[in-house]
């Protein structure tokens, strides 16, 4: 539809230039509102909107009026951008390396922006201070949503500045470590309409701050106080929040069974409770959850109980029985017993999601019992449950036919025959993680029957080859993500069939599949949605392959070509020219030199570069490249460059918002996949 419209509009664009009321233009029949409605359907792909706006002046102005969301790369052009889009309501500055107070002042004093702006994301921005926030909060009176996560320099004054945004409903302050109770107190008093508050990792905030928030912000729906040094003292006030639905208490060591007991007395509206990593909560306290939260839907008990023993006592069973609405249960990292799993099977309502990741003690017997009781299961995480065998898989596949996600990384005792069962019975699978499993081509052939599969992880599956992969490519057209990390049996044939059969592929990892050549990349260039390509350690890949990908895959944002020694500057130039969305690149151990690096400067999105062990790189070339890439936020370099690069330059780059990571790794010689796996196993046995 879009193409149709575009073509028709371009055909008539000549008559369009001067006057919109020209009757020759078929688009005059459409009111702006109708075009807006059409545009609403376009938006997820930002490039489409861009091409639309480039058609003609009329479309340009329509698009300008229509756009609500903006995610600029630099703040430099903000003035012109802001005057172009008068109806902006959401501004995401997380891609801007540097958002200073002047930017925020500019924003907030912009006459068209200040009344319409409702949401701003500063989560990765730095350099703004409380005064910038203050002018933002004061002038943009309709601001509802602010994200200042990772503002590790922000202090109470910053929080107090935010508190002036009286209409704030959503505030995320993850990792604002310098903010204390005082700052949070200001927020609590100032932002009375808050519905969502995230204080995760705000280590300066304690009982007093959280208590005050709970007293003052009665509208709160979501409260995340994970990893805060709070104790039972603030729990009574949290309990009194009338509408609280989601409560995250992850890693709150100060909250123990008593606190949990208080918690259960209120919070009838609670739907999500996360008490993972709460070391002070024991299995004694957990039963009390059951008696309190009738409406609880999601419960996370991961890594909680001190000895990591999930003992299922009769009281606990009773408690869980009362949670009739429970849908999700996470027990990651708990030591579960057979009886525990059986009790879970008996006493929980029918769950749709269970996570037993890294639970020691999960055995066939317990698991089989559990799954027979939870036939509605949709998501099942068995990562690193190393004791289970085909018995479990047989039970899972028989009972849980509606399964959409199965994660069983490193379930090494499951034999290859078991995967046939998965393919035969779980027709609705969308996500399957078989990393480090014994699956072979025959298994993959069966897996290919899961035609809805979107995410398939086959890393370190040494037994799979092109044959199996071709089956996947032939019958899984929905595949979006494919991980073949160190699955060295895969070569060009397999990748080509995937590229042919899965046009929606967005991510592919062929790292250390050393049989891969340019042919694969040329095939992958047909996947126009590809945004992440990882082909580390593929020595046969050359600049030709990279060029093919660069030219066709315009969405490419992440590229890892580490240890592809045959890639040189000639690969970088097409990349620089075509991949204008590239944000992250790893060039270590390639043959790229100053020229290639410098050419990348034309990729305006480029934010992160890893440049280790580039033989052809000189200090001056590097300096020029760094200076030319204006948007860099993270650069990984070898330590020796630290002394070679002018100090002033480094200071300047840091002031622009770039951080440097200095590495001093020695050059490593690559080994083949089987060797690598043996090495890993040796290391494990030594440990």
């Amino acid at each position: 539809m879009k193409k149709q419209k575009l073509s028709s509009s371009s055909s008539s664009s000549s008559s369009f230039h001067s006057d919109r009321e020209n009757s020759n233009n078929p688009f005059d029949a459409l009111s702006d509102e109708i075009v807006f409605l059409i545009l609403d359907h376009l938006l997820p792909r930002s490039l489409d909107a861009k091409s639309f706006s480039l058609v003609c002046k009329s479309f340009y102005s329509i698009e300008s009026l229509h756009r609500r969301h903006l995610r600029p790369l630099r703040t430099r052009h903000l003035p012109s951008v802001l005057s172009r889009y008068p109806n902006l309501s959401r501004l995401d500055l997380s891609l801007c390396p540097r958002v200073s107070d002047s930017t925020l002042d500019l924003l907030s004093s912009f006459p068209s922006v200040s009344p319409s702006l409702r949401s701003i994301d500063l989560s990765r921005s730095r350099f703004f201070t409380s005064s910038g926030l203050s002018s933002l909060a004061l002038r943009c009176s309709n601001l509802v949503d602010v994200d200042v996560s990772n503002a590790t320099d922000m202090r109470d004054a910053g929080a107090a500045a935010l508190a002036q945004a009286k209409n704030l409903e959503r505030l995320r302050m993850t990792r604002c470590k310098m903010v204390t109770d005082i700052g949070i107190g200001c927020v609590a008093v100032g932002c009375r309409k808050l519905k969502e508050l995230v204080l995760k990792w705000c280590l300066g905030v304690g009982d007093l701050g959280v208590g005050l928030v709970a007293v003052k912000c009665k509208e709160l729906r979501t409260l995340d106080v994970s990893y805060l040094p709070i104790s039972n003292k603030c729990v009574p006030s949290i309990v009194k929040l009338p509408y609280l639905e989601d409560l995250f208490l992850e890693g709150c060591y100060g909250i123990d069974d008593d606190g949990l007991a208080v918690l259960k007395d209120g919070c009838n509206s609670l739907k999500t409770l996360d008490i993972s990593s709460c070391q002070s909560i024991s299995h004694v306290g957990i039963p009390s959850i059951g008696s309190g939260y009738a409406s609880l839907k999601h419960l996370n008990l991961s890594y909680g109980i001190p000895v990591r023993v999930f003992k299922v006592t009769p009281t606990l069973a009773d408690g869980l029985k009362k949670l009739s609405m429970l849908q999700t249960l996470k027990l990651d990292g708990c030591m579960v017993t057979i009886s525990g799993l059986k009790a879970l099977g008996d006493c929980c309502a029918s769950l749709t999601e269970i996570s037993l990741s890294k639970c020691a003690g999960v055995t066939d017997e317990g698991l089989s019992f559990l799954v027979t009781k939870h036939g509605q299961l949709k998501k099942f995480d068995l990562t690193c449950c190393r004791k289970i065998t085909e018995v479990s898989i047989a039970h899972i596949t028989r009972s849980c036919t509606a399964l959409t996600s199965l994660r069983m990384e490193s379930c090494t005792l499951v034999p290859k025959e078991a995967f046939m069962l998965i393919g035969q019975r779980c027709a609705y699978l969308e996500e399957l993680d078989l990393t480090e499993n014994e699956i072979d081509d025959e298994g993959l052939e069966y897996i290919s029957r899961c035609t809805r599969i979107r995410v398939l992880k086959l890393g370190i599956c040494l037994d799979i080859t092109d044959k199996g992969l071709s089956c996947i490519g032939a019958s899984c057209p929905e595949l979006i993500e494919l991980d073949l990390y160190r699955s060295a049996g895969v070569t060009d044939t397999g990748i080509s069939s995937i590229a042919r059969g899965c046009p929606n592929l967005e991510m592919i990892n062929v790292a250390y599949c050393n049989g891969i050549t340019d042919t694969s990349l040329a095939a992958l260039s047909k996947c126009s949605s590809l945004n992440t390509l990882e082909c580390r350690g593929c020595p046969l890949v050359t600049s030709v392959g990279i060029s093919a990908v660069a030219v066709s895959c315009r969405q490419l944002t992440k590229l890892d070509i580490k240890k592809c020694g045959n890639i040189d500057d000639s690969g970088m130039i097409p990349l620089a020219r075509h991949s204008q969305n590239l944000r992250q690149i790893n060039l270590s151990y390639t043959s790229v030199t100053d020229v290639g690096l410098l050419s990348l400067a034309s990729v305006s999105c480029l934010q992160s570069m890893t440049i280790l062990h580039l033989k052809g790189l000189t200090a001056s070339g590097l300096a020029a490249a760094l200076l030319a890439c204006g948007g860099l936020t993270k650069v990984k370099l070898q330590t020796l460059f630290r002394s070679k690069l002018p100090h002033l330059l480094l200071n300047h780059l840091e002031a622009r918002g770039c951080t440097f990571h200095w590495r001093n790794k020695v050059f490593q010689v690559e080994v083949d996949a089987k060797c690598w796996k043996l090495q890993i196993e040796d290391d494990n046995t030594v440990e």
Binding site: S100, T129, S130, L138, D153, G158, G183, L212, V215, R656
Partner: protein, 528 residues
């Protein structure tokens, strides 16, 4: 010699007190034959008991130099105040006492004396009632009438006191007799004989009484050391309650039915007297009986006995002691007994603190902050301990020494919010300054002087001292107008200890000043 004489007489007086308490178990408060009339009777009686003699006494006392009390062993210097205080009455009294001393103690005489006293007190009470009743409509009356009335009452009261003392004095010889029978060694003091007797009495009676009834014994100890000041009776009896500083808080929980306690009311002058416990030997004054007892050890070994040093405690024994509660003399006060919703005060200390806090000027000003004023010196001292340390600040200007108190305050009051102290600025300003200047310099060269728009200048300055102007920004958004920069340079940067410190952040100028200076420093940095 005159000194000595008065001293003697004074001690005699004391002995009378001591005796009456010891023997009769507080006969002055609890006349056994009139238990039913308690409510009416006790009040004026008590007033008369210990209010009046002290009126002249205490009004004079504060003028005396303290040094006079600081000579523990100089007995000659003791009671320098007494000549003036009890002089008039004392001379009469002396005569009566002399007469009574000769007589043996006769309970019937005592009874008739007491009933006579009762009648007189009733009369006086009526008179005072009359005056009180008339007072409100006659507010405009000339002072003359009031003084006349006062004189009248004073005269009546004086005679009652004289009567009472003489009655009590009749008990004296019997005590003396019992003492001489026991035959204690009289300490070689330079005191007059009677003084010595009294001192001795206390210890021996005490020792004798303790095994039988510790109540009587302790009462004697309690009463003995400070016969001059009748207030001490009450203070001592409630010594254990001295800790409760906040009389009002302590009091409110209590709900005694009216009439179940005895109401005592001190006069203003008495309340404001600095000390309530006096050494009978050297006259040194103390606020606490315990301190007096410690002091007494210096006067001889007999004060070092455990019994003498023991804290006088109430006996839970046989005879129920009527609870005493206190009334504030300030008419119209809720703590005044005539108030409709009268709430009595628990101890004498409560009375004192209440009266000073509520009805007196706040004379003591904190020397550090010069803002906080107190009428009770202990409150000032408590404040001084924390003055300047109140780092927890509310937007209303109130400071708190504890964070939880601040948060309690904020929880309680709508619209109040925590305020950020000024000195928080340092931390954040650093890195942002650097970043800003570097980038700007890269872009614009010597940009600080190239700036044209206010916005950018401001931006830079706010970057530099972002935190400093924060509070001001909070209170007045206008501070961001660059027009504020100019005129306020003379404002010194307010330090946090500033007396007006709590409000200093409200002055936008002061903050702008710092911001400006910050901006200048950056510009110089960039030049170099």
């Amino acid at each position: 010699m005159k000194d000595l004489k008065i001293d003697t007489e004074d001690n005699l007086h004391a002995e009378a007190w001591a005796k009456s308490t010891a023997r009769n178990k507080l006969p002055k408060h609890v006349p056994p034959d009139h238990p039913s009339q308690y409510g009416n009777f006790s009040l004026p009686r008590n007033q008369q008991n210990w209010v009046d003699p002290s009126v002249p006494d205490h009004t004079l006392r504060p003028q005396e130099p303290y040094e006079g009390f600081n000579q523990p062993s100089e007995n000659q210097s003791n009671h320098p105040h007494n000549p003036s205080s009890v002089q008039d009455i004392g001379l009469q009294m002396n005569d009566i006492i002399e007469i009574n001393k000769i007589l043996d103690w006769d309970p019937r005489t005592m009874l008739s004396n007491l009933s006579f006293l009762k009648q007189k007190i009733h009369q006086l009470q009526d008179l005072v009632d009359l005056i009180v009743g008339r007072r409100s409509p006659t507010m405009g009356r000339p002072d003359e009438l009031v003084t006349q009335q006062q004189q009248l009452i004073t005269a009546d009261l004086t005679s009652i006191i004289v009567q009472l003392i003489s009655t009590a004095g009749s008990l004296l010889p019997s005590v003396k007799n019992s003492l001489s029978a026991a035959g204690p060694s009289i300490p070689a003091e330079q005191l007059g004989q009677l003084g010595g007797v009294i001192l001795n009495t206390s210890s021996s009676v005490n020792a004798a009484a303790l095994p039988l009834s510790s109540d009587g014994g302790t009462k004697v100890i309690a009463d003995q050391p400070n016969p001059v000041d009748p207030t001490s009776h009450l203070v001592i009896e409630h010594l254990d309650e001295h800790e409760s500083k906040d009389e009002e808080d302590v009091e409110d929980g209590e709900n005694l039915p009216p009439g179940s306690y005895e109401i005592l009311q001190l006069e203003k002058e008495e309340i404001l007297a600095p000390h309530t416990h006096f050494c009978t030997i050297c006259g040194k004054g103390f606020k606490r009986d315990a301190n007096l007892r410690m002091h007494m050890r210096g006067h001889g070994d007999e004060y070092k006995t455990p019994a003498a040093l023991a804290k006088p405690h109430k006996d839970t024994g046989s005879e129920p002691v009527l609870i005493k509660r206190y009334s504030c003399p300030y008419v119209g006060c809720k703590r005044n007994k005539d108030h409709k919703k009268f709430q009595p005060l628990k101890t004498i200390l409560c009375v004192k603190n209440h009266y000073k806090r509520t009805h007196c000027d706040k004379r003591y000003t904190c020397s550090r902050c010069n803002t906080k004023k107190f009428s009770v010196i202990a409150d000032l001292k408590t404040h001084e301990k924390h003055c300047g340390k109140d780092k927890w600040l509310c937007s209303c200007g109130t400071t708190f020494s504890r964070k939880d108190k601040l948060f309690g305050h904020i929880t309680l009051f709508q619209g109040h919010t925590p305020a950020i102290p000024l000195d928080e600025a340092k931390g954040q300003a650093g890195p942002s300054t650097q970043g800003e200047t570097n980038e700007e310099s890269h872009k614009l060269g010597n940009m600080n002087f190239g700036f044209a728009s206010d916005g950018e200048v401001q931006d830079l300055m706010e970057d530099v001292k972002g935190m400093v102007d924060e509070p001001s920004g909070y209170y007045s958004p206008l501070t961001f107008d660059s027009s504020n920069f100019g005129g306020f340079n003379e404002f010194p940067r307010p330090s946090f200890d500033d007396p007006e410190g709590a409000f200093s952040f409200l002055i936008p100028g002061s903050c702008n000043y710092t911001r400006k200076s910050g901006g200048e420093s950056t510009s110089t940095n960039n030049l170099s």
